[in-house]
């Protein structure tokens, strides 16, 4: 089994008086794709935000490459090699595609080839054609590609991918799946939050199921697909 890259133990977080996470624990191993599955409001996005430091954790521990990153500011966490792709895309609409990529650019850790706009355009050919277009004038699917490319410009070793298939046309969802598998080929570990079981099954090695701020199930993706009971209890709407 590959060595653990991201270790989350007993993570608690919330907004104001509302507690959302009650001690989430999960592990992301080197080079794997893991899915964090659950219904709306189960705590998927909150988990990713709390790991990234965008929401201050109220308890628990987050380790990345053996280093304690609990409560570090987001830019420190990003610089350690953990990338984040937000659910709402949050691209910089006033900036061009090329400028959006520039904001994400960080030097690659020693020995690895850095991502360049050219390498990313090879993966996301639509972006190449609109590199000088303002991001506000792009379709939703193109914006989703751009957020992933922007995060890759930071040369992360692992990426938190929040609901990558949400609200996208089926053909774009397929492109997203290819992008995730491509990241895996490049040796980047991916933790994605997802409601769409088909999408998760197509790209993930393992799955966690979260409900009401607690991890209720963990196992291989195949085992989850085979387990009707868990699927009905926590995933079907």
């Amino acid at each position: 089994m590959a060595e653990a890259m991201l270790e989350v133990e007993g993570l608690k977080a919330g907004y104001g008086p509302a507690e959302v996470l009650f001690g989430v624990g999960l592990v992301l191993r080197k080079g794997e794709v893991a899915a964090l599955m659950g219904r709306n409001g189960a705590g998927k996005s909150t988990t990713l935000k709390a790991i990234m430091g965008l929401l201050p954790p109220r308890g628990g521990r987050v380790r990345f490459n053996g280093r304690d990153i609990t409560g570090l500011p987001p830019f420190r966490i990003a610089r350690l090699g953990l990338g984040y792709v937000p659910e709402e895309r949050r691209i910089f609409t006033d900036l061009t595609v090329a400028e959006n990529l520039e904001v994400g650019r960080r030097p690659a850790p020693g020995g690895r080839a850095a991502w360049t706009p050219e390498r990313l355009f090879a993966i996301f050919p639509n972006l190449a054609e609109m590199r000088h277009r303002r991001a506000a004038a792009m379709s939703g699917g193109e914006q989703q590609m751009l957020t992933i490319a922007r995060t890759l410009m930071g040369n992360p070793q692992a990426v938190l991918l929040d609901e990558p298939s949400e609200g996208l046309a089926p053909v774009i969802v397929e492109q997203m799946a290819e992008a995730v598998l491509r990241m895996k080929v490049e040796g980047i570990a991916v933790l994605l939050s997802e409601q769409n079981l088909d999408f998760a099954a197509a790209v993930s090695d393992r799955a966690y199921v979260i409900e009401k701020g607690d991890i209720r199930y963990q196992g291989t993706m195949e085992a989850l697909e085979a387990d009707d009971h868990v699927r009905e209890a926590y995933l079907t709407v």
């Binding site: 949050r90 900036l95 930071g154």
Partner: protein, 617 residues
């Protein structure tokens, strides 16, 4: 009019537009990234001028060359830029997350501190700067003489615009600034150290303000009043242009430059008013300014925590209130004249502060110009008595009517906006009122104001007048408090907490806010009228920015999330001010430092601290 004259007038409009743009671009950049409206930007401008009148003559001693002049100007701007860095590191960094009202107040605290520091370092006398070598002559345009330096200034604006464009589009720093203007949290999640970005932006912003000030020295002397006069103009430029938009600021500066150049020919008395009318007109049509965009939800500053549960008086509260009233009633039997003067004024300010918190704490309407209605009430009463010879009683009746009428007029525009634009518009209206009182000398007495505003004979003794003030003020406070507990007050709180949801359940948010604004204006007007008769005079300081800030400091001190806290705040603030002010030459410095300290360590005020204590017990 001759064509030559018109051309020269247009050119001088361009020259002042250019200067205005250089300063405003810095403010708008800083706002775009930090979301803080920096009052101290005017102080940076003033410091730029003072630095330049110190550095440039020293450099020109070596050689009277144009190069040394401009090196001196740039060096002055750079020093001011470093002061901007210091302000970011020491203050702004700690207040990025606090509500915008507190940010405005804290930066105004810096304004006050800088004013006294400048007085201490450079003295009270204006300092004239050297003329620019090589640009001292005049050029003739259609037979009209036009100063060469003004011609030079016309080119500075577009050059700065061009350089800023290159910086923003061709450098990584600029691209990061533009990205942070849209979504600074996301910029951080991508690994950018926002702290460095913010510090860099403050350097750039303060540098531009300092440059604007340093470039003025051949035209105007450096003086201690430069900060407030420029900051309101620059606010207007950035608001008209759209906050955060450099190009918008350029367009707005051009508009205002021409409006002032030609407005002065047609309405020489009311140029200031014209500028503010332009702003009000633009905001009604385009609430985000010419090139501004609606605030992204992620970048919006939080409203201050307002009144949540207006509990009726409990036994302790009722006892305290009764004791306070009783103390006021028996005081004239024991107190000396000084104590009675202070108590009278405290009662007046308590009403003004209560009416302001009716807007801020209860309605979420952050008015930065509440002194306007206080002052207009005072002027209405004072002018009726002195100019028309009316007795005190009808004049006191006219005060709340005037305050309410102007609040209704200004409020009609104000309630169409929200957040920082709303605060800026209330400030602008207050400055219009101030400008009219200041410039319309024949009626208002201008800077000196009017004396001889005395009560009727029956109320002329300090005792009786104190009772009169107590009756009016406590009566008005209780009436306003009743409104706050009534469904009307609850509706305002609902609209404060969620405008959309209030709208969705059928509340006419705008009309409710408009009525609330009018009511608060009337109460402030009554306070102003009472104040005029207690002082015996009126003058423009009654509706100046510092007066508005005093009111805000009172409610902040008392705690804006409490109902009765503002009364406590008014009493504490005024008593301390009255006791400490005569003891020191540096009152403004102390006040500024106190406001900053209040924002940093005591954001819930005295009333909030009491409520927290009671909740714990």
């Amino acid at each position: 009019m001759e064509p030559g004259f018109l051309v020269v007038q247009a050119l001088s409009g361009l020259a002042s537009a250019s200067s205005l743009f250089v300063i405003a671009s810095g403010l708008t950049l800083v706002f775009g990234v930090t979301r803080i409206v920096n009052f101290a930007h005017g102080s940076f401008y003033m410091l730029g001028a003072y630095m330049a009148v110190t550095i440039v003559p020293w450099l020109l001693e070596f050689d009277r060359s144009p190069w040394l002049f401009f090196i001196g100007v740039l060096a002055s701007a750079a020093v001011v830029g470093l002061l901007g860095v210091a302000m970011e590191l020491l203050l702004l960094r700690r207040i990025y997350k606090v509500p915008e009202l507190f940010q405005l107040l804290a930066t105004f605290g810096v304004v006050l501190m800088v004013q006294d520091a400048v007085l201490k370092i450079w003295g009270p006398v204006d300092i004239a700067g050297p003329r620019a070598p090589g640009l001292r002559h005049g050029v003739y345009i259609l037979d009209q003489r036009f100063p060469a330096y003004e011609l030079f200034l016309i080119f500075v604006g577009p050059v700065v615009l061009g350089l800023l464009w290159l910086l923003m589009h061709r450098t990584r720093f600029g691209i990061l600034i533009r990205a942070a203007t849209r979504d600074r949290e996301m910029v951080g999640a991508l690994g950018v150290n926002q702290a460095l970005l913010f510090t860099g932006t403050l350097f750039l912003g303060a540098f531009l303000a300092g440059l604007g000030g340093a470039l003025q020295i051949p035209r105007v002397s450096a003086s201690g009043q430069m900060d407030i006069s420029i900051i309101t103009e620059v606010f207007v430029v950035t608001v008209i242009g759209g906050m955060g938009s450099v190009t918008g600021a350029f367009l707005a500066a051009l508009l205002i430059g021409q409006l002032q150049a030609f407005g002065v020919l047609i309405f020489p008395k009311i140029t200031l008013v014209l500028v503010f009318l332009l702003m009000a007109a633009v905001l009604v049509v385009k609430p985000w300014g010419l090139l501004g965009r609606p605030e992204a939800a992620a970048g919006r500053a939080a409203l201050p925590e307002g009144i949540l549960h207006p509990a009726p008086f409990d036994h302790v509260g009722r006892l305290i209130a009764l004791l306070a009233v009783a103390a006021v009633l028996v005081l004239p039997l024991f107190g000396d004249a000084y104590v009675m003067k202070v108590v009278t004024e405290v009662l007046v300010f308590a009403l003004a502060a209560f009416s302001l918190n009716f807007l801020v704490g209860n309605g979420g309407i952050v008015s930065f110009g509440h002194a306007a209605y206080f002052g207009l009430g005072a002027y209405a009463a004072g002018l009726l008595v002195t100019r028309l010879g009316l007795p005190m009683e009808p004049a006191l009746l006219a005060a709340p009517i005037a305050g309410g009428a102007f609040a209704a007029l200004f409020g009609f525009f104000v309630v169409r906006l929200s957040g920082i634009y709303l605060a800026m518009l209330t400030l602008a209206f207050a400055q219009i009122a101030y400008a009219v009182c200041f410039q319309w000398v024949e009626v208002t007495g201008g800077d000196n104001g009017v004396v001889g505003v005395w009560p009727s004979a029956w109320a002329s003794s300090r005792h009786v007048y104190l009772y009169l003030v107590a009756a009016c003020s406590i009566g008005a406070i209780l009436a306003l408090r009743h409104v706050l507990y009534a469904p009307f007050g609850a509706t305002l709180r609902a609209a404060r907490d969620s405008e959309q949801r209030a709208d969705a359940i059928g509340v006419d948010v705008r009309t409710h806010r408009w009525l609330g604004f009018t009511l608060a204006g009337a109460a402030a007007g009554l306070a102003g009228g009472l104040y005029a008769f207690s002082k015996g005079s009126i003058d423009p300081t009654l509706l100046s920015i510092p007066m508005s800030v005093d009111f805000l400091a009172m409610i902040l001190l008392g705690g804006i999330q409490t109902v009765m806290g503002p009364l406590l705040g008014a009493a504490a603030f005024h008593a301390i001010k009255d006791a400490v002010m005569p003891l020191t030459d540096y009152w403004r410095f102390l006040l500024g430092a106190a406001i900053i300290a209040l924002v940093l360590i005591f954001p819930r005020g005295l009333g909030g601290a009491y409520a927290a204590l009671r909740a714990r017990a």
